[in-house]
């Protein structure tokens, strides 16, 4: 619950950031420089524990609820919204995590399995 206000400010902040970063990531041809390795590995552990049961180990499983490797990397707002509010059979999990953990999950989903 108490994540929501923080998430909101973050979302607004992010909107600006995303526009700026969009150009950067195009220039870097897919390599994502937005995230620190520690943040990604923290997100990987949270993902393995809480998301992989439905989304597959490392986001890979033909029986996955939703192929998160295909989640648009420029739609963090949508990601945070889904996590907070849920969507159909996707439970609203946001309240379980602090803002830094949500950022870590986002980092992992966007950049964690790109090698």
């Amino acid at each position: 619950m108490d994540v929501r206000p923080a998430g909101l400010t973050k979302r607004l902040l992010y909107l600006g950031g995303a526009l700026a970063l969009y150009g950067a990531s195009v220039a870097a041809q897919g390599t994502d420089r937005r995230f620190e390795p520690e943040q990604i590995s923290k997100g990987a552990a949270l993902f393995a524990r809480n998301c992989a049961p439905c989304h597959g180990p490392r986001m890979v499983d033909p029986q996955s609820a939703f192929d998160l490797r295909k989640f648009p990397p420029d739609e963090k707002t949508r990601f945070v919204n889904v996590l907070t509010r849920g969507k159909n059979a996707m439970p609203p999990l946001g309240g379980l995590f602090g803002p830094d953990e949500i950022d870590a999950l986002w980092a992992y989903v966007v950049a964690g399995e790109k090698r």
């Binding site: 524990r49 049961p53 180990p57 159909n88 309240g95």
Partner: protein, 559 residues
């Protein structure tokens, strides 16, 4: 004709006896005798899901048509078994309890179930509800946020509401309650979130809590030494999310327990009583009379929750009163239900985690996979994590002595991840699983099986190529089986051959439990449609063109 006259007679008798206004324990015990009513989960305390009704049969089923449908205004899935009493049908889902006039399909009342929108985060496998219980003028149900509720049958008004557990700690409820010997029994879900499982007994009149039988043993209790040092039993799982059966003569309730927590057994060396077990308990007190553990130490998510079907079987020339279970672990268990003695345990699907069950010790003999997986290696295990059979309930025809089940035919690649400390509300599993890469494309994903309970050999198998069935089976005296598909088709199958005889496409997917009943001497069949549950989650992408949304469908023969 004879049947309708007979039921008329029964009805007259019932009204003279003055028991029409409220169902008694005697009514619950005799469920099935008066076919106008369906009073218990499983269509009888024995959970046979069998009705002798035969108007709808192999010859007439082609004239089966829908007679009414009612929207349940619910996007969460429909998994419930409706109950019928005195011309009123009672239906539950996670959102609503609904009373319906069976003659017209019109809603009489509906009462909302209120839970916080974030509650589904502690629900592993689909937000749903398995159904109500009826007793003494009340409708009983459980709520997603772990309350037990009683409503007035006439008005839907809430009479009492009692808290079973705190949902933020990972506890949730989808189970249909059971009324046995005047006590209301409920189970609990949450073994993926580090709960400590239990079965509760409640006073149906007041909602007062009578007793709690924890399903993981604490130090000092019998079985308390099967958890290793420390307090692993406090988060040891053994949920109780499927309704038990009841033998009124023995006064024993049979209730199965779920997987151990976490799935990685590293913090819980030992058998871990009473995870993945069949329990026989006294409904008045919760006293544990006997137990049988199917999967000691359960490292595989092999719940023993599934329906515990009561029947009389000829075994070695003698008549035995048995309890039967098609376990998630792939074995079909037959036990003497008076004392828990194991009579038979044969695989009904492909099993690689164990070579067999040792009939002298009653224990499974694990294959080499057990050591490998505990050492952290990837293994390919049969049955997969969803089991050789998941919760969709089997039916038992006491006349043919056959079990009919929707089974699964799948392996999973499986390995453990490092165990982290318990965190309330977060997953407590520490494993990962994926599909094997070499699975032949034409391998059936599941079957409808007709099984001999003692040999576990199929009389016939109906292979399923697209989706395994995630709804229960119903068997009838008309030689038919009813069940449904995730893609929405409601099916009638020839119980002797496994041939599909009839189907009708409902509005969403079917993952619920059909029933059959009569009104004015005419036979009806009812099933809920509304995609949900684990079957939806694991097939979400493939089911893209099957919309959500719950409804009730009732069918009868076109005159």
């Amino acid at each position: 004709m004879t049947r309708s006259l007979l039921s008329l007679g029964l009805l007259l008798f019932a009204s003279c006896a003055g028991v029409v206004s409220a169902q008694t324990l005697e009514d619950l015990r005799n469920d099935g005798k008066n076919t106008d009513n369906v009073l218990t989960y499983g269509m009888g305390y024995h959970l046979n899901r069998y009705s002798a009704l035969d108007q709808i049969n192999k010859a007439t089923v082609k004239r089966l048509v829908p007679v009414w449908s009612l929207s349940l205004d619910n996007r969460w899935g429909e998994q419930a078994q409706p109950l019928v009493y005195n011309g009123v049908m009672y239906v539950t889902n996670a959102r609503w309890t609904v009373a319906i006039d069976v003659a017209t399909g019109k809603q009489i009342w509906r009462t909302e179930v209120d839970w916080l929108p974030e509650t589904p985060r502690v629900v592993c496998c689909g937000v749903s509800n398995k159904g109500p219980a009826l007793y003494n003028g009340k409708v009983f149900r459980t709520t997603l946020d772990a309350f037990v509720v009683a409503l007035d049958q006439k008005t839907g008004k809430q009479l009492w509401k009692s808290k079973a557990a705190d949902w933020t700690e990972g506890y949730s409820m989808t189970v249909a309650p059971l009324v046995a010997n005047g006590v209301l029994l409920t189970g609990i879900s949450g073994a993926e979130f580090g709960i400590r499982g239990f079965i509760d007994g409640w006073d149906p009149d007041t909602g007062r809590h009578l007793w709690r039988r924890y399903t993981t043993a604490a130090p000092g209790e019998p079985g308390g030494d099967t958890w290793g040092p420390g307090d692993a039993y406090k988060h040891g799982g053994a949920s109780t999310w499927i309704t038990g059966s009841y033998d009124p003569d023995l006064d024993l309730v049979y209730w199965g327990t779920g997987n151990a927590g976490p799935w990685n057994p590293e913090p819980r060396p030992g058998d871990n009583l009473y995870v993945a077990s069949i329990l026989a308990i006294r409904p008045k007190t919760g006293e544990l009379v006997w137990h049988y553990q199917a999967t000691p130490n359960d490292p595989y998510d092999y719940d023993a929750c599934w329906e515990l079907i009561l029947g009389d079987l000829k075994i070695d020339g003698g008549n035995r009163k048995v309890v039967m279970q098609l376990n998630r672990n792939g074995f079909l268990y037959v036990l003497d239900r008076a004392n828990g003695k194991l009579l038979s345990a044969k695989p009904f699907e492909k099993v690689t985690w164990a070579t067999h069950v040792d009939m002298t010790t009653g224990r499974p003999v694990e294959s080499e996979l057990g050591q490998k997986v505990r050492a952290g290696e990837w293994i390919e295990k049969w049955p997969g994590t969803r089991g050789a059979k998941n919760w969709p309930h089997a039916a038992f025809n006491p006349n043919t002595g056959l079990l009919y089940a929707n089974t699964m035919h799948a392996a999973r690649m499986y390995r453990f991840l490092p165990v982290e400390p318990f965190k309330a509300g977060q997953r407590y599993m520490f494993m990962e699983a994926k599909d094997p890469e070499n699975r032949p494309a034409d391998l059936p994903v599941g079957h409808v099986d007709a099984l001999d309970p003692v040999t576990a050999q199929p009389r016939w198998r109906m292979p399923l190529q697209d989706f395994a069935h995630w709804g229960a089976l119903l068997a009838t005296g008309g030689g038919l089986l009813f069940t449904g598909k995730m893609t929405g088709e409601f099916l009638a199958i020839d119980a002797d051959t496994g041939k599909l005889l009839w189907q009708f496409k409902t509005g969403s997917g079917i993952n619920a439990q059909p029933i059959t009943w009569t009104l004015n001497g005419k036979q009806y069949v009812t099933v809920l449609s509304g995609l949900g549950g684990l079957g939806e989650i694991v097939n979400r992408q493939k089911l893209g063109n099957v919309p959500q949304g719950g409804s009730v469908w009732t069918f009868a023969l076109l005159d």
